[in-house]
């Protein structure tokens, strides 16, 4: 493998301008993240400490092995929903190491409305359990939730992918042999009671932890019975009488300690044997990514410069370097793991689509995980390209990608528009993890194009109906369409809706992929084979 020769001049005016722009974006991202993670009403924090409880992130820090990473997922989920009332969707999810085992950690956030589940909370938890299933990662639940957010119950409760899916996924995980541990720090009420109930192991903190289907007020209302929290579902009751929980703990610290001891008893998974080399830092400084990503989405840049700042030793074996050049394909190592990278260097043409499809097949043959670096405006359109079969060539790439047996990972680097999103393993294609850079935009088309398209339709309509065109009305429609589009195109909207597994700082891409690939190897390779390719 050869080292990529960077063509970037870090002293150029352009580099500095891009860098300043991207550092601003990162600062904004970090600020939003900080707010979502830590900004809470003083009242809520005081109540928590009065109960002798730790904040959920403290619990996670104590649970993790010291000096090991934690890849937090979807830290800005729900950041554009519910007027910001549910930071991080009231839930913390990530992948980390506990007692030497890689696990998914999922924590309720009692500092937000008592840890109540919003619709996006349910979506985030379901996704966390999907990740656990797809990667066979044990799950540790840190339970402290008042239950479903009742004002929005219709969006939390009834549908297939709502709260019920959490318990369905828990059951399937257990059936798959993937272990779950619940540490009950606070209340697990109603459906939430099933989290420890469906976990293979559970620890409950005396005094603050409680598990019941209906809390004391509900019991009083329903049957007139007066009962205390401890009697109804406290630690001693559940660990000595009902058997709903396994271990009583005298404090949150002890619960965490017990949890770590429990995990230490679990067998160490046998991962499949992905090709590995000794890891090596990239030869180029990843911080230079800030000066490479342009300050305008319309500006083109060479994705090799990005690859050089993500992969081991900046080394890259490029496949078909002279063919279908708008799609870069090639092999590299990330944290030692051999991967096949597909990165957009322009619109997808027939040749680049065929090249992509072929390269994906090579990686499936070679048991090489796939990494997609998206910066795609779509497949080429127009008479000439349709005549050449751009649709069926795109379909081949989508077919190869969809049916891949190796794990897939996607990084949304700058733009993801139209069917290019599909070919490059967008959200719908069951990639193991999908990350977004803060500068990224995603949509069926760009804001300008959408406004232009709708304005065009409007003008045609006006002409058909009366003949005269109200320029002002068209302009307003254009503006509205563009601004609505622009908001929904942003990475923040995307991550708010959990269309990804979180926004990451470009500099963190290498670590995020390293953890993601490592985690993915716990699940066996999928079935080989494809559907019908249209030739």
């Amino acid at each position: 493998m050869r080292k990529i020769q960077s063509m970037i001049s870090t002293s150029s005016v352009e580099f500095r301008r891009y860098e300043a722009h991207n550092r601003r974006l990162i600062a904004e991202f970090r600020e939003r993240q900080e707010t979502a993670r830590h900004a809470r009403p003083q009242r809520d924090l005081e109540r928590l400490s009065k109960q002798g409880k730790m904040r959920p992130r403290e619990r996670i820090e104590k649970l993790l092995d010291p000096g090991t990473p934690f890849l937090e997922l979807s830290s800005l989920a729900a950041n554009m929903a519910y007027d910001g009332d549910s930071p991080s969707a009231s839930s913390i999810v990530g992948i980390g190491v506990v007692s030497g085992r890689e696990v998914v950690i999922r924590a309720d956030d009692p500092t937000v409305k008592g840890g109540a589940w919003y619709p996006l909370t349910a979506k985030k938890i379901v996704r966390a359990l999907d990740i656990a299933m797809e990667n066979r990662l044990p799950v540790i639940h840190l339970c402290d939730s008042a239950g479903g957010f009742l004002q929005l119950q219709s969006e939390v409760f009834p549908d297939k992918y709502m709260a019920g899916r959490i318990f369905r996924n828990q059951s399937i995980l257990s059936k798959m042999g993937v272990k779950q541990l619940a540490l009950v720090f606070g209340h697990c009420t109603a459906g939430g009671a099933y989290i420890p109930g469906l976990s293979d192991y559970s620890v409950i903190v005396r005094g603050t932890g409680a598990v019941f289907l209906g809390g004391p007020p509900l019991v009083k209302a329903a049957t007139g019975e007066e009962v205390t929290v401890e009697e109804l579902g406290g630690a001693d009751m559940h660990t000595s009488i009902s058997g709903t929980c396994d271990y009583p703990a005298a404090s949150e610290e002890e619960a965490i300690h017990l949890g770590r001891e429990i995990v230490a008893q679990w067998d160490r998974p046998k991962k499949w044997d992905c090709q590995q080399e000794t890891p090596e830092d990239p030869a180029y400084d990843p911080e230079e990514l800030y000066g490479i990503i342009p300050d305008d989405i319309k500006k083109q840049f060479d994705m090799r410069e990005v690859i050089a700042r993500i992969v081991d030793g900046s080394r890259f074996h490029e496949y078909q370097p002279a063919y279908g050049t708008t799609l870069i394909c090639g092999f590299a190592n990330i944290w030692g793991y051999k991967v096949g990278i597909l990165a957009n260097n322009g619109v997808l043409f027939n040749d680049s689509s065929l090249k992509g499809g072929h390269f994906i097949e090579l990686c499936n043959q070679n048991n090489t995980p796939l990494v997609f670096l998206q910066n795609i405006t779509g497949y080429m359109i127009g008479r000439e390209y349709e005549r050449r079969g751009i649709t069926k060539d795109g379909a081949k790439m989508i077919m190869a990608q969809s049916c891949s047996r190796v794990p897939k990972f996607t990084v949304m680097c700058n733009g993801s528009f139209g069917a290019g999103n599909y070919g490059m393993c967008g959200r719908a294609f069951d990639g193991r993890l999908l990350f977004t850079w803060p500068n990224h935009q995603i949509g069926v088309m760009g804001g300008d194009q959408a406004a232009n398209t709708l304005a065009e339709v409007k003008v045609n309509q006006m002409k058909r109906n009366g003949g005269s065109v109200d320029e002002e009305e068209v302009r307003q429609l254009w503006e509205q369409t563009r601004s609505a589009y622009q908001e929904q195109l942003s990475a923040y909207y995307s991550t708010s809706e959990l269309w990804d597994d979180g926004i990451i700082d470009p500099v963190d891409t290498r670590n995020a992929l390293g953890v993601a690939i490592s985690a993915s190897l716990n699940a066996p390779l999928g079935e080989a084979g494809y559907g019908v390719f249209r030739f």
Partner: protein, 167 residues
């Protein structure tokens, strides 16, 4: 996270900051890089810590490590943070009869402080006397059976409550 160690009645904390390219321990808040790791077993070992090569011998005695280093022998014991203290101990609040029988003697009365393992009540069952120990540290809250009284299996005989801070 990490471990607490006791040496000469002083408690020290050791945890890990990072492992790459070398293990870095945080000992009582200070970082120490270990550029050469000792072997894992008992016996002699060499370790490089903070740029110094240190030869030592070590043996494990239960939850103690006897370390000979620099011509001195040190007895370092592991501190279990959950074995002592007011409400510490994850065990139950209730003392239940492991089998049916009768009370022979009540050793502790309500209000008495107890530590885990201390006999609370001696019972006789199937001609066998058994002292029931306190399941954890705390204060006796209630004693529900007195001498001579009988009970069934799983019946609660006494209850505990956490020791209050100002007690």
């Amino acid at each position: 996270m990490g471990i607490s160690l006791s040496l000469d009645d002083k408690v020290h904390h050791v945890t890990i900051l990072r492992r790459h390219p070398h293990l870095v321990l945080v000992i009582d808040g200070e970082e120490h890089e270990i550029t050469r790791l000792p072997g894992s077993g008992d016996g002699r070992g060499i370790m490089s810590i903070g740029g110094h090569e240190v030869a030592f011998a070590r043996t494990t005695l239960g939850d103690r490590q006897i370390v000979r280093l620099g011509g001195r022998t040190f007895d370092v014991s592991l501190v279990d943070p959950f074995s002592k203290g007011g409400a510490a101990g994850g065990a139950q609040n209730v003392l239940k009869a492991p089998m049916p029988g009768s009370v022979i003697a009540v050793h502790r009365q309500p209000g008495d402080k107890v530590v885990r393992g201390e006999p609370l009540i001696t019972i006789e069952s199937m001609k066998l006397q058994t002292a029931l120990p306190a399941p954890r540290d705390g204060v006796v809250s209630t004693v529900l059976r007195t001498e001579g009284e009988t009970f069934e299996k799983e019946e609660v005989i006494a209850t505990l409550e956490p020791e209050t801070e100002d007690a």
